[in-house]
């Protein structure tokens, strides 16, 4: 109670509530406009939060995030164009249902699924973040270093066939962070005699440039589409059918919970966000039902699954951020930036060292979902108005805002130059198929990696410890398998050796560090991994022999 009451008071402060309401509204708008992503909205919110107390700033950003995750469904259901990649699967059944004359029901199901997904993940965040933080207390500098490497490789591996480009982007992100004075000894690096470079790039300006500026350039690239409004819809007369939607959700509670769990788990994985979770949840739901003939034609479960999962992603992404200081996705990476801006370094001790702030984050996450429900109906009209604005007008306004926002960070015009340079870089990276997420993670985590490398070598200069310690070996194994993952994915169904051995070998490999960790639970887990891995290998090879015999 000593922690909960001040945290609660932080959030229910009238100014915080106003910022949260504005944040949810802004998020709903950003999420509903195709081409303007949630991450961009979060990045652009960051300069605003600079002058706010940490709890208020984070509550505002969480509100934008929750609003953004729910906003995508409005556009997806009403126009058939998903507002964000997180709501792609929502359009599969949401749009047909709206066209079948039930847009109010489709929106209602989407809104309440989002709400349920958000609340389930908030509960899981409260339960799991402290547990994960307790595990994180075992981590030593070697383990943290390898954890960062794992986060980068797994994010790069999500680039699929562009794995090398993803890895290059991650390495470039780490390198960008080294420009300027070295934190440990104060020596200038890659400054080439320039004071601007000696101070280093402000990483928030880098993030806004890489993500927001480059996105706007991409939106403006085509002169014809830049002059068009997103929609020529004059009016939408839709009444969201809350009661019917809730009844449908109650009937399909298994779909809600399963999808929320999928979203939560996807969110925990670094780099994997709502764009993967919504498709995954839709696919799993379709596979799980007995009769999937109505899918794609307006099946309510086809709306529940993606919306419950994409809203649950953020609870997942915040879990490693709060527990370990490692963001689960770009939005969480920006939140890490917000914390660092206030000189708060998240890590395993964050929840115990800053209990009021941690609880404020939990409460804000819960409350933002309620604000979202309240605002969604009212935002429909504004959504129609915003979609009637021409893209170039919207983009110019956002660009002007981003410029002032970046300046406001340190009252420095140099930061606007940084925004500009990295905007150009981000734009060309997008054009040439380089994923931005690994670079952003590289920029955000670069300092943490170097700090832990230095600490590790100061304790013991033996480099073998980076793979010999249980947790660092654990992360090394997952990192290696994440690098191989795109090749494995390509070979699926081909019956190749890699396809047969990938998952069992990973299980066998992971059992080694788990055995090294000791303890009843982990030894049991290791034994299970060993037995399952060995069984799968035996089964896959003997299965072929048995087939040949008969």
């Amino acid at each position: 109670m000593d922690i909960f009451i001040p945290a609660f008071l932080n959030i229910v402060d009238p100014s915080t509530l106003i910022f949260m309401t504005v944040g949810v509204g802004a998020g709903l708008m950003a999420g509903s406009i195709p081409g303007f992503t949630i991450a961009m909205a979060i990045v652009l919110t960051l300069p605003f939060t600079f002058s706010m107390p940490p709890a208020q700033g984070l509550a505002t950003m969480i509100s934008v995030l929750v609003g953004g995750l729910s906003g995508g469904l409005m556009s997806g259901i009403l126009t058939g164009i998903p507002g964000t990649p997180s709501s792609v699967a929502t359009t599969f059944d949401g749009f047909p249902m709206a066209r079948n004359g039930e847009p109010g029901l489709a929106l209602g199901i989407g809104v309440w699924s989002s709400f349920c997904g958000g609340i389930i993940s908030a509960v899981l965040l409260v339960l799991f973040a402290p547990q994960l933080a307790a595990v994180g207390l075992e981590f030593q500098p070697w383990d943290f270093f390898m954890l960062v490497m794992f986060a980068l490789t797994v994010t790069a591996s999500l680039a699929g066939s562009h794995l090398i480009k993803g890895l290059i982007a991650g390495a470039a992100g780490l390198l960008i962070r080294t420009v300027g004075e070295d934190d440990a000894v104060g020596v200038g690096r890659f400054d080439f005699g320039s004071d601007y470079l000696l101070t280093g790039f402000d990483f928030i300006a880098v993030l806004i440039g890489l993500f927001a500026f480059s996105q706007l350039l991409s939106d403006l690239r085509n002169p014809a589409s830049a002059r068009k409004a997103l929609s020529d819809q004059k009016q939408i007369f839709v009444k969201i059918e809350h009661r019917r939607a809730i009844m449908i959700l109650i009937k399909n509670w298994v779909v809600v919970i399963r999808s929320a769990l999928i979203g939560m788990f996807t969110g925990i994985l670094p780099g994997a966000g709502g764009s993967i979770a919504n498709i995954l949840a839709y696919d799993q739901t379709k596979k799980a039902v007995k009769d999937d003939s109505k899918f794609g034609k307006g099946d309510p479960r086809g709306i529940i699954a993606p919306e419950a999962s994409n809203n649950a992603v953020e609870g997942g992404a915040l879990t490693p951020l709060m527990a370990l200081g490692i963001p689960g996705d770009i939005s969480a990476a920006v939140m890490l930036g917000a914390l660092l801006m206030h000189d708060i370094v998240p890590g395993p001790t964050f929840i115990s060292d800053e209990p009021v702030l941690a609880s404020s984050i939990y409460i804000a996450f819960f409350l933002a979902n309620f604000i979202m429900i309240g605002m969604q109906s009212g935002m429909l009209r504004i959504f129609v108005l915003v979609t009637r604005i021409k893209t170039y007008v919207l983009a110019t306004g956002i660009l002007t805002f981003a410029t002032i926002g970046v300046f406001a960070l340190h009252n420095s015009v140099e930061d606007i130059w940084t925004l500009f340079f990295f905007g150009i870089l981000g734009f060309f990276m997008r054009q040439y198929g380089f994923p931005l997420a690994p670079m952003i993670l590289g920029v955000v985590l670069g300092d943490i990696a170097e700090l832990n490398l230095a600490r590790a070598l100061a304790i013991d200069p033996d480099p073998m410890l980076f793979i010999a310690r249980p947790w660092s070996l654990f992360f090394t194994i997952i990192a290696l398998f994440s690098i191989i993952f795109p090749i494995y994915q390509k070979q699926r169904g081909s019956g190749s050796l890699l396809e047969k051995l990938y998952s069992p070998l990973m299980l066998l490999g992971l059992s080694i560090p788990l055995f090294m960790m000791g303890g009843m639970f982990r030894t049991t887990l290791a034994t299970a991994a060993l037995v399952i891995g060995a069984y799968v290998i035996w089964r896959r090879f003997n299965g072929r022999r048995l087939k040949q015999r008969y």
Binding site: A395, T396, L399
Partner: protein, 159 residues
């Protein structure tokens, strides 16, 4: 084997890695501290270099694919394809150069107006002017008075 756009990017990356590796030898080595300030950047550069070589090899093994959305080789079509992007680059760069002279309020107003008119056409200049005044003025008021951020004044305009 085909030399393509990816091969060129890979070669640029390889050269950049080489250049940065050379630059890393300019980093001063202090007598204190366990990890040399150059060690971490060098480790990243080595990894970046190796990845760039792999990218180069991969690019040579890729079949040459013509992206239908990209412009043809004529200079006119190239500039018309990238027109908006180059316009934003140029207008933004000019805005940044003029910012110390015009200040944030006037600079943003001019920047918004010019950018809107270049992207949307000069016919709607009146509408663009009103939008520029509304957005730039509104943001200036918001940051100056609500968020108490001191926005730069121009040496020529005094605003």
């Amino acid at each position: 084997m085909a030399f393509n756009r990816d091969s060129i990017i890979a070669l640029i990356l390889i050269m950049a890695s080489g250049g940065l590796m050379l630059a890393s030898f300019e980093i001063r080595e202090p007598d204190y501290g366990v990890l040399s300030p150059a060690a971490w950047p060098r480790l990243i550069i080595v990894i970046l270099g190796i990845l760039s070589v792999l990218y180069f090899i991969q690019s040579l093994r890729m079949a040459k694919v013509k992206n239908l959305d990209t412009p043809s080789h004529s200079l006119v079509s190239f500039f018309s394809y990238w027109r908006n992007v180059f316009s934003v680059f140029i207008i933004f760069a000019v805005y940044l150069i003029l910012l110390p002279y015009l200040g944030m309020l006037i600079g943003n107003l001019v920047f918004s107006f010019v950018l809107l008119s270049v992207l949307g056409g000069w016919r709607s200049f009146l509408m663009h002017g009103l939008i520029a005044i509304g957005t730039s003025g509104g943001m200036w008021l918001l940051f100056t008075y609500a968020l108490e951020v001191f926005l730069p004044r121009g040496s020529l305009t005094g605003l």
